[in-house]
């Protein structure tokens, strides 16, 4: 029997609402089923999506649809994964309505004045299967689909790429650095489309997936080739012998220059970073201090922010098709 539940994950200006449970290696969206946590995922492809027949200043529905389709295509083009989607047509329906259709479109949400866009899900609570997912783009912000971006407007395709990452089951990445400005946060730099805070207006940098995004989507929808050719690192982050929960752990490959992040998701401070290319990696653990903690975790998830940024004291060799295990990153309090 299917039980349906509505979930929302909002994103991308400076605030996010995460009411779902992060699971697994990469920070994926999940839901608790009894004592276990199941990652949200699509089981049937292609994903059929509709576009609301609502335009926004400067963007026609056709331009909007083209940008959305391009963003879907970027995710589907990730090697060694199996996802697909199809645009069904324009509809009068709006996003955020539990109508059995996955609808993407513009909605005015003046009360969400820090949220550029957000994604909702209807899931089967028995197995985490996504039944429907809607995305809205907040029309209180100016939008653009200009090929090179448009100064003072947010790029639809860049934000769509982030939201479709949610639609596919990914949560937020913490691979970015921010600064506090006027009560909010401004991104200094980020290396993941799934970072919860958007680049400033005019930027089209998030039209391209980063290694962290690729690792995340591959972790959910990877093929056997992915499992065979890529590896993982697992271990713990500890402080005075006790696990650190909610630590952000980054694996850097000096050979490829790629960065992939993960989190410690248990009280024992355990983490897994999957989707890594074979070869030496350098591990860095840091507190989750570049975004609101609730951009990443439920309110009831205790996150330890009291430790210094620490590098693991060994280079870790990631095997092909296997895991480098039992890494322990020992951190100290600030």
């Amino acid at each position: 029997m299917t039980r349906r539940a509505r979930l929302i994950v909002g994103v991308t200006l400076a605030l996010a609402i995460a009411v779902v449970v992060p699971v697994g290696a990469y920070l994926k969206l999940g839901t608790r089923i009894g004592n276990r946590t199941e990652s949200l995922h699509w089981r049937e492809f292609p994903i059929r999506y509709f576009i609301s027949n609502v335009s926004a200043p400067g963007v026609t529905v056709q331009q909007f649809q083209s940008a959305i389709t391009a963003a879907f295509g970027t995710w589907h083009a990730v090697e060694n994964t199996q996802t697909s989607s199809t645009f069904v047509g324009f509809v009068q329906a709006l996003p955020f309505v539990d109508d059995g259709m996955s609808v993407i479109g513009y909605v005015s949400q003046p009360g969400q004045d820090r949220t550029l866009a957000a994604t909702t899900f209807t899931i089967d609570e028995t197995d985490g299967r996504i039944l429907e997912s809607d995305i809205y783009f907040n029309t209180i912000f100016p939008w653009s689909t200009a090929e090179a971006g448009s100064t003072d407007r947010y790029d639809v395709q860049s934000i769509a790429l982030h939201e479709i990452g949610h639609l596919l089951g990914l949560s937020h990445s913490a691979l970015g650095e921010t600064e506090l400005i006027g009560g909010g946060r401004r991104v200094i730099g980020a290396e993941s489309v799934m970072f919860p805070i958007a680049f400033t207006r005019g930027s089209i940098a998030d039209r391209t997936l980063k290694a962290d995004d690729v690792a995340g989507i591959s972790d959910i929808y990877g093929t056997t080739t992915f499992s065979r050719e890529f590896g993982s690192i697992s271990g713990r982050v500890t402080k005075s012998g006790r696990g650190v929960q909610g630590a952000h752990v980054v694996a850097f490959s000096p050979k490829t220059g790629k960065l992939v992040g993960g989190f410690t998701l248990t009280e024992n401070g355990e983490f897994v970073i999957a989707g890594l290319e074979p070869g030496p990696h350098i591990l860095r653990a840091e507190p989750l201090d570049d975004g609101d903690v609730n951009s990443f975790f439920d309110d009831d998830f205790d996150v330890d922010l009291d430790f210094k940024v620490t590098f693991y004291d060994r280079v870790v060799a990631v095997p092909r098709g296997g895991g480098a295990n039992n890494v322990e990153i020992k951190v100290t309090a600030k």
Binding site: E79, G189, F252, P280, I282, D313
Partner: protein, 239 residues
Amino acid sequence: MNAAATDGSLRSSASGRIVVISLLILLCAFATPAQAQSPAPSGAGVWEIGGGGVFVGGYDLGDRTAELTPNTGNTSVSLFTTDNKVLPVFGVQARVGYVVSTALVIEAGFRFTQPVYEVRVTGDFENAPNTTIEENLGDYVFDGSAVWHFTGAAFAGGRAVPFVFGGAGYIRELHDRDALVEDGFEYHAGLGLKWWFNESRRGFGIRGDVGVSIRDGAFDFEDGRRIVPVAGGSLIYRF
């Protein structure tokens, strides 16, 4: 490792086996007719074995920065920077050679070293202390060489014989014991001196040599070849 690198690694592996097998065949081809001859006191038809130590130079893998895509208004954002190098190392080697003529010896060899891959991490965005971290590698080189002796230039009563050598081999490089295997080719050339303990150039002697080893594949950040110095010293025995 990307798909291209993976393919390259596999190609290297297959080709490496071909090189080793080819050299063994070459060795047999030389050996067969020679065995029919009467062994000369110091010449064709005898075997030479040796074992000893080897020094292999390190190499610089360069700087690699963990970069973030900068927001508008920022030029570049570095999470941290790494300076990568493989340190020089001492190891062991063993060789077996067949003396084709007084001048020419064909050898098969094995070399084992455990170099350290060292990473200096600096410039952390959030001011983590600079640190140096390491990984142990295991380098196995299986090679074949041709050694040409300048018997006319021998000195010390004919006991000291200079030589030059060159050859190729297969590198099998293990990360962190055997977590990951990378392989490639190795080409080498150099010169040296053998000092026999008796004038017949049979029995025991010592060998010293210096040269270069050109690595193609195995652990590296870039495609292409890398030249490292090598030097060895062995106790040898000809019989």
